[in-house]
């Protein structure tokens, strides 16, 4: 398999095979654009630093043989905790890295990684946490004034504009 060279934002080169790299739709498209020159050229990825790129490639290498997402799943169950244990381990990182991974997955257009990282974040949010707990988890500041907050609490967007 031809080797693809990827360059992170901090100018580090990563070599990986095409199969793995093609997990990323972005890279796949870029390769197609490059055509014959793909063998020797280096593909710059200025939005991904080396740390993250390394992890992304790690994930992609593990998952490159995944079957296509089985959309034809009969009797799909309604749950969000169906993250594989490998992925769960892989994502045992600090929040910063997690968000970076999300951004990288978004930029590189890797649906599987995006799904699993977003699911992980969703799992951090859900579970009946109060808004303050959510804010504490993610370090977000509350920019509502108390009256505004009251107002918003009473709103029920699902029932509006019937």
């Amino acid at each position: 398999m031809p080797i693809i060279r990827l360059e992170s934002s901090d100018k580090e080169i990563f070599d990986t095979d095409q199969e793995t790299a093609k997990c990323s739709e972005t890279i796949k498209t870029a390769l197609e654009d490059l055509g014959d020159e793909s063998d020797n050229s280096v593909l710059p990825l200025p939005n991904v630093n080396s740390l993250i790129l390394k992890k992304v490639l790690h994930w992609a290498t593990y998952h490159k043989d995944d079957a296509e997402l089985a959309e034809e799943d009969e009797n799909k169950e309604k749950r969000t905790d169906d993250i594989s244990s490998w992925d769960a381990d892989f994502l045992k990182v600090d929040q910063g890295t997690l968000f970076e991974l999300i951004l990288a997955a978004n930029y590189l257009n890797i649906q599987g990684l995006l799904d699993v990282t977003c699911k992980t974040v969703a799992n951090m949010i859900k579970g009946g946490k109060s808004p303050q707990e959510i804010r504490d988890t993610f370090g977000i500041t509350n920019d509502f004034s108390p009256s505004e907050e009251e107002q918003v609490r009473k709103e029920n967007e699902w029932c509006e504009d019937k």
Binding site: G96, F99, L103, Y107, F138, G139, I140, N142
Partner: protein
């Protein structure tokens, strides 16, 4: 630099396409907070990637925070949250999140409607297995039921009562917390309602209002008629207290009626009732003033009214309008019409509505649930290309009759041979448990007797079908008689009026009333049955039974799901309550059915018989077949009803017969309520098992929603 611009543009264009509601909070100021705090978000922001411009006060090794993620990613994350409590909390976290959640809600609502018209939705199931897998400790889970009442209040679904797997009814109240996706049973105090099914339950302010219902008769003393209730209960959700209200005047005891809330009134229509000791369907309307707990009946303009019915779908269309669709008016009278009740003036009026595209409409809207989603009425029901084999349910909607009826009309059945008790043909009072039981026992043992051959799944399936066929044939016989009896308005089927105080009263009064009236018909052997051709049928039945007992039938599992399309299309076959004119048709069908049965029997005999057979899960046939026995979705556009002068219902043309991915099994008497951007289906019974001793009921919840978009 190219790529970065591309990326920004990509994100910007996506952000732009978010449309309205996208909040551009350029004015959010950084407050003092944890160091890794927010970068301001701008629409065309270039600081999406934390690699570049570091936020004002942080260290060079930038620590990305959640707010760094672009809006659509946050929205994508939020789609993984159940759209209930968690989403509400997210909405309050900060202004930006509020905007995103608002957008998400709008998009979900839009997607659901779009999915309904395009039939692009998917089902997901929440079964006991799902719950068990999702939690480490054992979870409480509701028992399966059908004909229960379900209503949604804020972020929970409340389920009350219903029929169980074994001919009893529940009176428990369960709450399904949609945020946490788990069942809980509130510890309720106060005066519990009687166990019942098909009661109407509505949510009003912080209370649930429960009215009416039926229950199976008590087993002792035997042969009692089933009960209808006129109990009115309020359940206070805050205090977890049931309150019984007895008010006069009061509607007659009823079940299968429909109710909706309009402002401070609950409007109840139709139902199966007893009035003056006669059981009839009704098309009366009763209104309950909810705060004052007082019933009254409205005056109507003119004489047009929907025909009497039960099991209809009633939808609230605003404070002064309601829509009634479908319903069942008795044997062979399943309605698919629609009526609008106008309550604006002091005197109310019914208006009949044109129904267009009926070929895409649901049929059997009396045992299948429906609910409203904005401008659409959604009904979940059997797939349209399935045989319309619902005749049997007419009487057994109030199910005693469905298998609990009087003893089989043929006293010569070879039950003694199997050590069955001989049933007294004379005792024809409804609720004859003995009759039902004995009959079923006959069927089951007949089906399970002897060691069968090592049947291929296909053959076993055929054997099962035959067993069901036979059961149904017997039911058919029985019901022909019942119907004749009923036609004479005999009291052998009188349901007792179910006043609470009467429940434990000695049955003497009712029995006394009924006793003189069980007329000669009960003792009459089938050959003298009123409908001609019954003789033929009876004899054929007898012969079939005799034949059947000689077979080596494999042991049947007690309950089997009907996952397949019946190749013999037992269409007409299920227990009909037939009027006399239809009985000839009926016999035709019996004859045809019998020929088919013979054909199977012959083909079976030629198959090798060998050793033991273990009851195999009946899942043999191809996946294509499998999918036919599932629920379909039917969607009806009701937007034009209030606005135009010629109001009409338009059924939306379905795709793939309304069968969507992951569709649940075909069940009847489930409940359907509208969730947030999704529909929630719960409970129900496999109708074919209603005549068994144990019915196959479901306790899974099925969610119907729009598949998650790939971003």
């Amino acid at each position: 630099m190219d790529n970065r611009h591309k990326e920004s543009r990509k994100i910007a264009s996506r952000a732009a396409s978010e449309g309205e509601g996208h909040s551009t909070k350029k004015d959010i100021k950084d407050r003092t907070g944890p160091t890794m705090d927010t970068c301001n978000h701008k629409v065309d922001s270039e600081n999406h990637n934390c690699d570049m411009s570091s936020p004002p006060s942080s260290s060079p090794l930038c620590y990305a925070s959640l707010n760094v993620l672009p809006d659509e990613i946050l929205e994508f994350i939020f789609t993984y949250l159940p759209p209930y409590g968690d989403l509400e909390h997210c909405s309050i976290v900060c202004k930006r999140w509020h905007g995103i959640v608002k957008n998400l809600v709008r998009r979900s609502k839009f997607n659901l409607e779009k999915g309904l018209t395009d039939f692009r939705l998917r089902w997901e199931v929440f079964s006991p297995q799902t719950a068990a897998a999702a939690s480490t400790s054992p979870v409480a889970f509701i028992a399966g039921r059908f004909a229960h009442s379900a209503v949604r209040q804020r972020n929970s679904m409340y389920v009350f009562g219903g029929g169980s797997t074994s001919d009893t009814t529940f009176n428990d109240l369960w709450r399904f917390d949609l945020t946490h996706m788990r069942w809980a049973r509130p510890v309720a105090t106060g005066t519990y309602p009687s166990p019942k099914g098909s009661a109407s339950m509505v949510a009003w302010k912080d209370q649930l209002v429960l009215f009416g219902g039926w229950r199976y008769p008590s087993l002792h003393p035997p042969y009692q008629p089933w009960c209808l209730f006129d109990e009115l209960h309020y359940y206070d959700l805050g205090k977890n207290r049931w309150l019984l209200r007895n008010t006069m005047p009061c509607p007659p005891p009823m079940a299968g009626h429909s109710a909706t809330v309009h402002g401070d009134r609950m409007v109840v229509f139709g139902g199966y009732q007893i009035t003056d000791d006669v059981n009839i369907n009704s098309n009366d309307t009763w209104v309950l003033d909810l705060p004052e707990q007082r019933w009254w009946q409205p005056l109507f303009v003119g004489n047009t009214r929907p025909s009497a019915r039960y099991g209809q779908i009633q939808i609230e269309l605003g404070k002064n309008h309601l829509l009634v669709v479908g319903g069942c008016g008795g044997a062979n009278r399943v309605y698919t019409d629609a009526w609008l009740l106008d309550m604006t003036r002091d005197v109310w009026s019914w208006k009949t509505l044109t129904v267009r595209n009926k070929r895409f409409g649901a049929v059997h809207m009396w045992c299948n649930p429906g609910c409203k989603v904005n401008n659409y009425l959604v009904v979940v029901g059997p797939s349209p290309n399935m045989p319309q084999d619902f005749q049997m349910m007419k009487q057994s909607r109030v199910p005693v009759v469905g298998g609990r009826g009087p003893p089989p009309p043929n006293p010569h059945q070879n039950m003694p041979q199997r050590g069955q008790r001989i049933l007294m043909p004379e005792r024809r009072l409804a609720g004859g448990l003995g009759g039902g039981l004995g009959q079923n026992r006959v069927n089951r043992i007949g089906a399970g007797g002897g060691a069968g051959g090592a049947l291929a799944p296909q053959e076993q399936y055929l054997a099962n079908r035959r067993a069901i066929l036979n059961q149904h044939m017997q039911q058919a016989q029985q019901f022909m008689h019942n119907n004749n009896v009923n036609n004479n308005n005999n009291n052998s089927y009188q349901p007792r009026s179910g006043r609470l105080s009467d429940l434990h009263a000695p049955p003497a009064p009712a029995a006394a009333a009924a006793a003189p009236s069980p007329p000669s018909p009960p003792v009459r052997p089938p050959s003298l049955a009123a409908a001609d051709g019954d003789v033929d049928a009876a004899q054929r039945l007898q012969r079939n039974l005799a034949l059947r007992c000689r077979d080596n039938e494999p042991r049947l599992p007690k309950r089997f799901d009907e996952m397949y399309e019946d190749p013999f299309r037992m269409a007409a076959f299920n227990v009909p309550t037939r009027s006399r004119s239809a009985s000839r048709d009926h016999n035709e069908r019996i004859r045809r059915m019998e020929e088919k049965m013979n054909a199977i029997r012959n083909s079976r005999r030629s198959a090798p018989a060998a050793a033991q057979v273990e009851p195999q899960p009946l899942r043999a046939p191809s996946p294509k077949r499998l999918r036919c026995n599932v629920q379909s979705l039917f969607v009806c556009d009701i937007s034009g009803i209030l606005s135009s002068s010629e109001p009409a219902l338009d059924w939306v043309e379905y795709k793939n017969f309304g069968v969507l991915r992951g569709a649940p099994d075909r069940l009847i008497l489930s409940s359907l309520i509208a969730g947030n951007g999704e529909l929630i289906l719960f409970g129900g019974v496999h109708k074919e098992t209603l005549t068994d001793i144990t019915h196959h009921v479901s306790n899974s919840i099925h969610f119907l929603s729009f598949p998650r978009d790939i971003i």
